[in-house]
Symmetry: D2
Subunit: 339 residues, 4 copies
């Protein structure tokens, strides 16, 4: 049977989450996020950050992005994203449908740099004929699987402060980024260096759910209205809260990411050992090896993964993704198939 | 401890759903609704309807409403709702934010009548100065807990056909409506008499999830784009599909609703026996008794419920809601407290 | 030939405006409202108000309404309008397309009362499930041709202040309202009692153009972005500015309205003298007589006007509108035709 | 006194337009575009095209663009524009506020090429995760002052047909493009090769006004609703219609453009004669010479124009624009100042 390395959302959830849902199942709770489990999850998140931030739970990453962006921006304000950013390319124009221009900056290997921000602002200053850049969007880990360093994030923060911009971080794969050995970034850094970030629950082993964290309280004002109006308010908010409570209480969030990394490292090391190149260093749970087309076709008989793009006429960059659920036996099987 | 009759979403889900989630947990599935469980759930729903309709799953009722309405209407088209309809009063202006006018019709006891539709259209025909009515929105059960009869729905259908309107049904409490002894409406009737309806999973015992059913295939064209663009696409779509599969495969959908009705009937009968009036007959899982204020205050010491509105100076209409999870012992305790 | 009393925009403009356009035609000016004529027009308007307000010119009344409403409201905030208000019934859902709910209040004869505001707020306070009322919209003159008194406007102001609402006035027919003998309202009152109002140029004898006046400067912040983004920025802004300059410099604004009133009074007096009822007293340039259907049909052979609604089986309420351009000979002809 | 070559909208309008407004001033007309002048203007435009197209008049170019784009596209559909296109850079995010993604293609010297279209589509095909490209936007003349040849437009048409896209042309400076000696494109070609285009009246010598032309009638269906709902319906639609009638009846549209070209050619030839380079050949009424900074500063003492961008450390590209109103004496004065 084919085993999939296509993404980090092919399975259900950490079994402990199912256990927690089961334990709490018939306990009555207030709806719409006012339940005890959501409150406990908020506390656990704030404890990690070392400060009191406003935390809201929603069901999907695109929802998190569109809610954040459309609630903090005025209608004529724009968001800056690196080329290849999720909001720029893979959200079907959700940000634009919410009314906002996405200004694309080149970046480097999928990372945004301070000069990208400065250039984007410089090229968009002719009021009122140009939408006003006001928010910078980054992802951590990036779409290319890289993790921002503390120094990099600090530099983006300085650029934003200088230009009067807010900084938000899409954390669909934040778990993977935060345990990366390549990065020294800490959770209190996230609180200090970003204005808003969100914590991906889905890819970290929840059934569904993302936690939006406003480090500047005034940006969260009236946010519940936006949640409701966008159709994102879940009546049994307990379902989201309880999952985050379980992820952070039991340290599943980190341990799952570490498992994913370990499996990605095995795959990555095997690629290098076999003499294949990677288009990016493997810093989190994604790797992008460039393989002979014949090998790709052979591997596809037993494994599912994305073809990322042709390299020359006879090579192909592919993407492999691991997760909290990746089966080490299948990783070993994949490694053997390489040989 | 206080027991809540405030709503039908205070608990988690049918234990069989948790069991199903557990059984399937590590089986890899394709994302975004392309999983086997969603496919099976679609088949079960279509089997009930006796026809092939297009079925999509989303996480909340407001999302179902805004997605349906904003995908089938052109920007200048309006939706007609009875006064008190969920889209008219309890969705924070979600439909308007999506760009559409909601035309309010008076109705009767929360039910829309054919003459409401005809009047609303007659009062909104001055193109291009008035938004063009194009869609009729009803809820079944209504916000007042009533169930539409087949003859009523047929009459609405005729009015819609005569005027070139589509008819959609909000089924947040469709389970409660379909098992109501007050109504002779069948599932194949739903398919024939509405253009679009949705099946409430959350209130029927799912953790979350609503199934949108397009009976006219052309209305569903490109719907996945709308889902994605509105932030409603769940990467682990399996979570929604598997719950609906379980609800319909095991008949939980009906049996849960029947349990809720039975409990509501006990409460309703007790009210009448004790000499209290109901503002509406009890046809589903909601009842609206009018009680002396002193009794309301006494009941509130042990039970949670909504005060619906003052009646005179010393009476209060309250709302009691039962569900698949309502504890018969608590119902009995409530009945004793009445005496 | 048929003479039209259908509206106050069947002719071009005050000849003095054409003369002014001609005089200034080849004088180069900065675009986008930064011209000297617009500056002069702003000064003339502020002089009338006795205070410095922010003034912007746009081309249509619906544009003025949608720009004001969508710039001062947050996405989840709603506007309260009387039933029959222009934004409620005759703007094709423009406010909703801009994302905002219009809450309809009953009012009396087309006028909004303080209790309408209080009730609308009371019925819309369940955050975040209901859009939050934040702005009150009135028209002066009303759609029924009435002029607000100072005491009425003060009472609305008090209600708004008590409830934390802004008050805006649609002044499509402000000229007609301000010269009405029925009202004691002054221009400085407009500045003090409303947060925003707009001055209808089109119906007052301009080719086109409405002046939006923000009495609270902070509400006008970044307004030019909204103008540009909504497609309302006219490159030759001079065309709007010069017309308002001419209207207010030469007192055409008032004299035109006085002419319209005088003609409406002749028509109104003739109706009363002939024994016909009016559905509203004639306070401005509109009258709403109730005439026998046979007479209506006879009049329609020579005159154009709107049938407003059947009264019983053999009478019809009609609307007659006069303007700065109404020909007194045609008024006399109409009066004779009555006899 | 400073003379401005900054743009083609610094003056009022062709004197013949003022004369026509004056002649028709007191003739009563139906409102909202249903007047005889608008009808006559539509006929004159269709006569030029050699076919019956649907024609609507609006007050500004940004309005024309946003109305066209938001009326023909579904919410999840995107428009392709060349980098530097007006909708991409100078409309304050109007298209995005209307809900649509603008996909930027590189182009060449401001012109879009067939390969730009093919690449943009190829890079945006992952339904439903990417907005679907459906419309191609070009400007003629381009922002760089170039005029599309018939062969170029045909090639774009073929690319659009192959990919199932619509093609629209922003004609803010269509007059300048159509009389350009550099291009062989005819008005019937416009009708055949584009699905929608608009004719700039403002820059061609009207006070304001642009004519939107739908060559495929089905795309214009219900367009009046969009006009009304976007605040673009002018009650005295006669003002727009009469100006276009005058422009085309008296051939002012072409003669004004020819005058502008002649003046631009004098300026352009003088630049070349003086040994300065142009960044683009001068094909219409804009030229982009690269001048020594010292000369630019000297010229700015007597003339207004835009600095377009530094070239090296001591040169500057500037933009000069001529129009129907450009004074030949000032052109001569500018040429002398060069020497």
């Amino acid at each position: 049977m084919t085993y999939s390395f296509r993404d980090d959302y092919s399975e259900g959830c950490h079994p402990e989450i199912l256990a927690a849902l089961s334990d709490a199942n018939l306990v009555q709770q207030d709806p719409y996020g006012d339940d005890e489990f959501s409150a406990a999850a908020r506390e656990l998140i704030c404890a990690r950050l070392g400060q009191t931030s406003a935390v809201h739970f929603v069901a999907s990453g695109t929802m998190a992005n569109l809610l954040i962006i459309s609630s903090v921006l005025k209608p004529f304000e724009a968001v800056i994203s690196v080329q290849g950013g999720h909001i720029a390319e893979h959200e079907a124009g959700a940000i634009e449908r919410a009314g906002h221009k996405v200004i694309i900056a080149p970046g480097e290997h999928g990372k945004l740099r301070p000069e990208d921000i400065r250039n984007a602002v410089a090229e968009n200053t002719m009021p009122p004929h140009m939408a006003r850049p006001k928010l910078v969007y980054i992802s951590n880990a990036t779409e290319t699987g890289l993790a921002y360093r503390k120094s990099e994030l600090k530099a983006l923060r300085v650029a934003c402060d200088t230009l009067g911009l807010w900084l938000m971080m899409d954390g669909a794969r934040l778990g993977a980024a935060m345990v990366s050995k390549a990065s020294d970034l800490t959770w209190p850094d996230l609180a200090k260096l970003t204005d808003i970030f969100w914590i991906g629950g889905t890819k970290a082993g929840a059934l569904l759910g993302e936690a939006i964290v406003f480090n500047k309280g005034e940006l969260a004002e009236d946010f519940a209205f936006h949640i409701k109006q966008r159709g994102a308010m879940i009546s049994k908010g307990r379902v989201l809260g309880l999952q985050f409570k379980t992820l952070f209480e039991k340290d599943l969030f980190d341990s799952g990411a570490l498992h994913a990394h370990a499996q990605a490292k095995i795959l990555s090391d095997a690629m290098i050992a076999a003499g294949y190149k990677l288009s990016c260093p493997t810093e989190t749970n994604q790797l992008f090896p460039i393989l002979p087309l014949a090998l790709v076709e052979k591997l596809e008989r037993d494994f599912a993964f994305h073809r990322w793009g042709a390299v020359g006429t006879d090579h192909m960059e592919i993407r492999l993704v691991t997760s909290w659920a990746t089966d080490p036996d299948q990783v070993a099987r994949f490694v053997s198939a390489l040989g």
